[in-house]
């Protein structure tokens, strides 16, 4: 073998052919993303770009800042943004308070029971948003089921105002958004090796200490992912606040719809949408920075390497 010269080696090395094979494989893998990429361009990039462009078109049809100036000057717009973020914030908080214990229980159940619990969480998820929202109206309204029961039971004398206000909207939205918190959190909790909790107990941690020092920190990435999902989706909610807010809760999406269907003012609607988009992105960036999402270890860590 030592007799083979360098020239002879390069002749049989296939260097060029191997490199072009590698390039071709790369393009083929990229090709698999093609359909999705195409779809995203058609339904996301183009419309958002168009919105962005529209928002700079004034009433006379030429470039203008007037849509943004109006947003900046009018107090009603500030109120709409404030209430939108309030609703999203409170919904996220309530989903977390209800969802975390629920998901924890589900993650500790035996397989069959956990599957049944998961189906009950997902079942409403599979029914129409509108139907669910009107179902809440049936339950919550002045002469609805809940007020009826409470009065029959003698707990209250006059009906509680459960709907057509902030409370009603939050009740409806929290229920609708719950699966978005439960699903990523459940995946994250199931990935936590039970041996970590056994190890914690063996090292002297009571069940409560083991939960707070080991289980909870390991479930945080899933909790953050779920909360972010709930928050971002809540920011753009439309149907539920329309039905359950009773005109008192005006969120950004509702105002966008009004600008277009009532005033045919695409410029104003676009400017609202663009500002909401930018604020949402800003929230995501801040959340990612604060929580260091990429650095939080997943529960299944430790098996790599």
């Amino acid at each position: 073998m030592t007799a083979i010269t360098q020239d002879a080696i390069s002749d049989v090395s296939n260097e060029h052919g191997l490199r072009s094979d590698e390039n071709r494989e790369r393009w083929m893998v990229l090709g698999l993303c093609g359909p999705a990429l195409f779809l995203i361009i058609i339904v996301m990039v183009v419309p958002v770009g168009w919105l962005f462009w529209l928002s700079f078109i004034g009433a006379e049809g030429s470039f203008s800042w007037e849509n943004y100036e109006r947003l900046w000057q009018s107090k009603s717009y500030a109120r709409i943004f404030k209430i939108t973020f309030e609703v999203a914030f409170v919904t996220t908080g309530i989903c977390m308070l209800i969802g975390y214990p629920l998901t924890y229980m589900m993650s500790q159940l035996p397989r069959r029971a956990a599957n049944i619990a998961m189906i009950t969480v997902l079942l409403p998820f599979w029914t129409s948003l509108l139907v669910r929202t009107y179902a809440w109206l049936v339950l919550l309204q002045r002469k609805g089921l809940i007020n009826g029961w409470l009065i029959d039971a003698g707990i209250i004398d006059t009906p509680l105002r459960l709907v057509h206000n902030f409370t009603g909207n939050i009740i409806g939205m929290s229920q609708i958004m719950l699966p978005f918190l439960v699903l990523p959190l459940y995946a994250s909790m199931k990935a936590i090796d039970r041996d970590y909790l056994k190890a914690a107990a063996n090292l002297g941690a009571s069940p409560v200490a083991a939960f707070w020092r080991v289980f909870f920190p390991l479930s945080l990435p899933g909790l953050f992912a779920g909360m972010l999902l709930v928050f971002v989706i809540s920011l753009g909610f439309f149907v539920t606040p329309v039905v359950l807010g009773g005109g008192r809760i005006i969120m950004v999406a509702m105002r966008v719809e009004k600008s277009i269907s009532l005033y045919s003012n695409w410029g104003a609607a676009s400017a609202l949408a663009v500002v909401l988009l930018i604020l949402t992105l800003a929230c995501l960036v801040v959340a990612a920075k604060l929580l260091k999402l990429d650095k939080v270890q997943s529960g299944s860590g430790g098996s790599d390497g």
Partner: protein, 364 residues
């Protein structure tokens, strides 16, 4: 740390009548065992034998149907795992991935309200003990398998438990590292002196490391003995078969005398019982080639050479015995031994020293 006396650092374990069933299956069947203070004892058995179940009963993660477990003179069978104060090394180490090495080691100390300065000092000492000084800031995911093993060990002993449990701690390591860690674990045990219960399915590991080995099968303790005794004087076919390589020859036993096809055998000790179902144990390395034919100082067997497998430092010789099955003989590849091996198909006489002639019962 090397001067600590075992009375202070170790507790004896007394296990009485521990039984655990899953449906009709006995995972543990009336287990009785005394582990002496400071002893290194190994539970050895095939998978599903109940050895891990027994370890989990000791750590408190498995609740048996009945029985008693005492650490010293304290009954612990109903004590929660977190109150048992035993160290444990898990098979997959179970190091907390959201903490660095320092915090993993500090975890049991913080739970015991040890002061900050002392925690730092003891973490440093523990890292030194397992030769990981300077790696305290590392995340678990940045450690190699061997390093994780050492961290797991350090975490299990840092709160100075008087009993240490280990569940196949070396099974994830490659062969060289495993053998190195076996020696190191022994060294640590001698230094710290805590009572250690070790679970493995690797017979060589069990023999290398233990003061005594407990062979477990079907939830029962088959034999409890020192490694040499266990290997040289197995009490049942199962133990003889599970530890080391073995061939068995059926023999007949009458009045305490064993014979094979009418030829009496000289035995190391009296056979366990009379009657049929008695087996002669042939271990490859106990058999010798007798170039001069039959000899009075050996129990001799004739046969034909079937095959020879050369393995470097030793060779394996397969012999079709006239008395029955095929026997395997292992011998170092010294020239005079190799030269004495006849060609394939030729007659050969092999001998077994009376001191190595062991009879075991078929039923185990």
């Amino acid at each position: 740390m090397s001067t600590i006396t075992t009375e202070k650092t170790a507790l004896p374990i007394t296990i009485r009548g521990v039984t655990k069933t899953y449906g009709d299956i006995y995972a543990l069947d009336d287990v009785n065992l005394d582990v002496r203070s400071g002893e290194f004892i190994t539970l050895l058995g095939p998978s599903g034998s109940g050895k891990t179940t027994l370890l989990m009963v000791l750590s408190g993660f498995n609740r048996p149907d009945r029985g008693s477990v005492m650490f010293g003179d304290r009954e612990v069978i109903r004590l929660s795992p977190h109150k048992r104060d035993v160290g444990m090394v898990f098979q997959n180490y179970a190091l907390f991935p959201h903490m660095d090495v320092n915090n993993n080691l500090a975890f049991p100390l913080k739970l015991r309200d040890v002061g900050k300065a002392e925690v730092a000092e003891r973490v440093e000492k523990a890292l030194e003990l397992v030769q990981l000084s300077g790696l305290g800031e590392r995340r678990i995911s940045q450690l190699s398998g061997g390093q994780r093993q050492r961290v797991a060990l350090a975490r299990a002993i840092i709160f100075e438990p008087r009993i240490l449990l280990m569940d196949e701690p070396l099974s994830a390591l490659d062969k060289n590292l495993r053998e190195h860690m076996q020696i190191e674990l022994r060294r640590l045990h001698e230094m710290l002196g805590m009572t250690t219960v070790y679970v493995t399915h690797d017979q060589r590991e069990a023999l290398t490391m233990s003061d005594r080995v407990v062979v477990v099968n079907h939830g029962k303790l088959m034999q409890i003995d020192k490694p040499k005794q266990l290997y040289e004087r197995p009490l049942s076919k199962f133990v003889a078969d599970f530890i080391g390589e073995s061939t068995f020859l059926p023999v007949s036993v009458e009045g305490g005398r064993a014979s094979i096809n009418g030829r009496p055998l000289s035995l190391a000790e009296a056979p366990p019982s009379d009657g049929a179902n008695q087996l002669l144990l042939l271990r490859p390395e106990k058999l010798e080639i007798l170039p001069g034919g039959e000899s009075d100082s050996y129990n001799c067997f004739k046969g034909k050479v079937k095959d020879l497998v050369y393995q470097g430092e030793s060779f394996l010789l397969y012999v079709d015995l006239d008395d029955g099955p095929e026997a395997t003989l292992r011998s170092p590849t010294r020239r005079e031994v190799l030269d004495a091996v006849p060609d394939r198909g030729h007659e050969i006489t092999i001998g077994l020293h009376p001191e190595d002639t062991i009879i075991v019962s078929e039923d185990d």
